[in-house]
């Protein structure tokens, strides 16, 4: 076992030495395999996410409000699990194992849904465990991506991963509704097929993703103090602050699509199509924009990702334009995802020492998730009390302010050009 790993490390080292240039341009096998894991897992979880509201309302009489509240709580819980798992993965140098645990937990949850029937308490617990699984796996997996990729190609690597991830997220609902069309109300079958996808995804990471080079296996992991000191690193702190500020100022997806749908007077049935449209753009643009970020600077591309949202917000305040304008708007939203999600991970990873990658990426994930939660609550409240136009104007002003502040902070902490 050890020998196999040692020799693979040697081979990897050889390759790195021999083909330094090509190695930097090519996407590492580990990244593609992790992308495949995410693709399969996302098919699995989005299958369930697409039918679960239907199932809960049908089987358990949940109201949308209950659903939303419970969901918000679970997301919050997952954010803090993420911090713990990121640190644990660094501490034990077991990114692959910790990420696998997260994938495994989510896979087990799909099987749990088959067994739970309509017991509300059981479904609630399973949905929570599923979210915890997501919280556990995200930071160690992103750390694994960043650790398997040469620094210059980080943007492209995260781009490839996110493109595959989004492909899975788009396929999941299609598979689920395809199954329900074949066999109406066969929720058990949907859950079972979802479980199969999850197990296949788990199989990819457990069986095919190589463990990281044994080089550092003997060294002790970082102490809690080192991990806690992360925020003292100026560049990293700047990135966390920037991501949080921008996150708070952004209109959350669901509200943005709701606003677009209202503004354009689209039928409620067309609502899911807005998600499909922007996801399609995200999927197509993730890799090219990731590569672009590697070339022209990740900070710039990251900021540009928020700048492109401004015309979309502006369009909400202007008279409704036709379908081409909507298509352009969705493309811009997709481009914004492509320029902010994976690029942020690449941006943060580049500033983090290898030994604290997991912890650092977990801090970024948690900060952005909390920021999004605040944004969601804030925008919802504004919309309710002051109307949609006011809410959009306030968000627009906040976003412009956040972009300017972020630009200042990122420029002030810019690393040496040679390192960029």
């Amino acid at each position: 076992m050890y020998q196999v790993q040692d020799s693979s490390a040697v081979v990897a080292g050889h390759r790195a030495l021999l083909g330094r240039r090509t190695a930097e341009r090519r996407i590492p096998r580990t990244v593609v395999l992790l992308g495949l894991t995410s693709l399969l897992t996302d098919i699995s979880s989005e299958m369930v996410a697409a039918v679960l509201p239907l199932y809960l309302v049908y089987a358990a009489g949940f109201t949308p409000l209950q659903l939303g509240l419970v969901d918000g709580l679970y997301r919050g819980a997952a954010a803090f699990v993420a911090l713990a798992s990121g640190f644990a993965a660094d501490r034990r140098r077991r990114h692959k194992e910790v990420a696998s645990l997260g994938y495994g937990l989510s896979a087990a949850c799909k099987l749990g849904l088959v067994a739970a029937g309509s017991a509300v308490g059981a479904i609630g617990a399973i949905v929570m465990l599923d979210r915890v699984g997501k919280g556990i796996r995200t930071a160690p997996r992103d750390a694994l991506i960043s650790l398997s990729t040469p620094p210059r190609a980080l943007g492209a690597a995260f781009g490839v991963h996110r493109a595959m991830d989004t492909t899975g997220a788009m396929l999941g609902p299609l598979v689920a509704f395809g199954l329900l069309a074949l066999a109406p109300l066969a929720f058990d079958t949907v859950f079972l097929v979802s479980f199969c996808f999850a197990v296949a995804g788990l199989g990819v990471i457990v069986l095919l993703v190589p463990r990281r080079s044994a080089r550092s296996a003997g060294e002790p992991g970082p102490s809690a103090r080192v991990a806690a000191g992360l925020l003292l690193v100026p560049r990293f702190r700047a990135i966390v602050v920037a991501a949080s500020l921008l996150g708070v100022a952004t209109i959350s997806d669901a509200f943005l699509y709701l606003a677009l749908q209202r503004h354009l007077g689209l039928a409620p049935m067309a609502f899911p199509l807005l998600f499909v449209g922007s996801s399609l753009a995200y999927m197509l643009l993730a890799v090219p924009i990731g590569r672009l970020a590697d070339r022209v600077g990740r900070g710039r591309v990251f900021l540009a990702g928020y700048v492109v949202l401004l015309p979309v917000y502006a369009s909400l305040l202007m008279p409704a334009a036709g379908l081409p304008a909507l298509a352009l708007g969705l493309a811009l939203v997709g481009a914004s995802y492509a320029a902010t999600d994976g690029v942020l991970a690449a941006l943060a990873a580049a500033t983090l020492e290898e030994q604290v990658r997991g912890s650092g990426l977990a801090v970024v994930t948690t900060a952005t998730n909390l920021a999004r939660f605040v944004a969601s609550v804030g925008f919802g409240a504004l919309w309710t009390w002051a109307g949609l136009d006011t809410a959009v104007i306030v968000s627009g002003i906040a976003l412009v302010t956040a972009i300017l502040a972020t630009a200042a902070v990122l420029v002030a902490t810019r690393p040496e050009p040679a390192h960029a």
Partner: protein, 327 residues
Amino acid sequence: MHSRGRLFALLAAVCFIVAAGAVVSAVIAQRTGARTSAAHFAAFERPYLVFRSLSAKAGRSPSGELAATSVAAPGRERRSSGRICDRLHVSATGGICVGRGDSLLGAYEAQLLAPDGRVRHSIDLSGIPSRARVSPDGRYGATTTFVTGHSYAAPGAFSTQTLLIDMRAGKVIADLESFTVARAGRVVDAADVQFWGVTFARDSDRFYATLATGGSTYLISGRVSTRTARVIRDNVECPSLSPDGKRIGYKKLVGTKGKTWRFHVLDLASGTETPLAETRSVDDQLEWLDDGHLLYGEGGAIWTVPADGTGAARRYLARADSPAVVR
């Protein structure tokens, strides 16, 4: 590394086979369900009982399958059709199965069944199904749904919609609210008028139903052809006309605290009211087993009680509700 690759190939193959097997079996279950239903209406000698067979799986959402059994030996042989209904009623010439449609959003619909069990028409319903009836000759049907609220037990907190349906054309004839109803010589035109629980006479044209207004319920007698009805008695809910057309079984509100119902039988000619031996408060529309006995669903089983007030209620069929006797 090689062995792990092989292990993964094996795992992927197992996943694929399990997933494909689950899908194929679900599709086959769906298909066979549709096929057996075609054969089952003529399964037993008349009279036979069609009912909703409740799944034995505990903790599941209660899904009820349209099923049939013999009246002489109820439950000895249960033939399930695979058709899922929330409420059903069947006569010799057709039936109504109110359930979730095949649409992905699963809105309720009234599936109008041909004598062989195939769905001839379906009509979209709004709200949660409560009652369904088919006239003895299968010409008309009626459904009641809760448009808001979900129980008759909270006065003022629910509203119902009762539709009369032309079974052969597959069309809604009218919402009962569009009928002209007279009470003591005056037309009832209050805003809070609601109807539920229709029962048809042998000629199909005459029907009885519950009218509610001002916090009270009334028995109305009407005609489909003239779209009129009149109040004939107070405090009657969910009437059910006997096969001989002389009596009506119904639930009557008794006591002052909360909603407590007792089953009664009304002799239409004399106006005599007889309380039945069932002592529980049951919320169901009665079905006549024969001229001497009634059936109703309570607590996941079908019960029977004599129509003359004697004897006692006894369990007739386990794991079942929504009884309909095909004569």
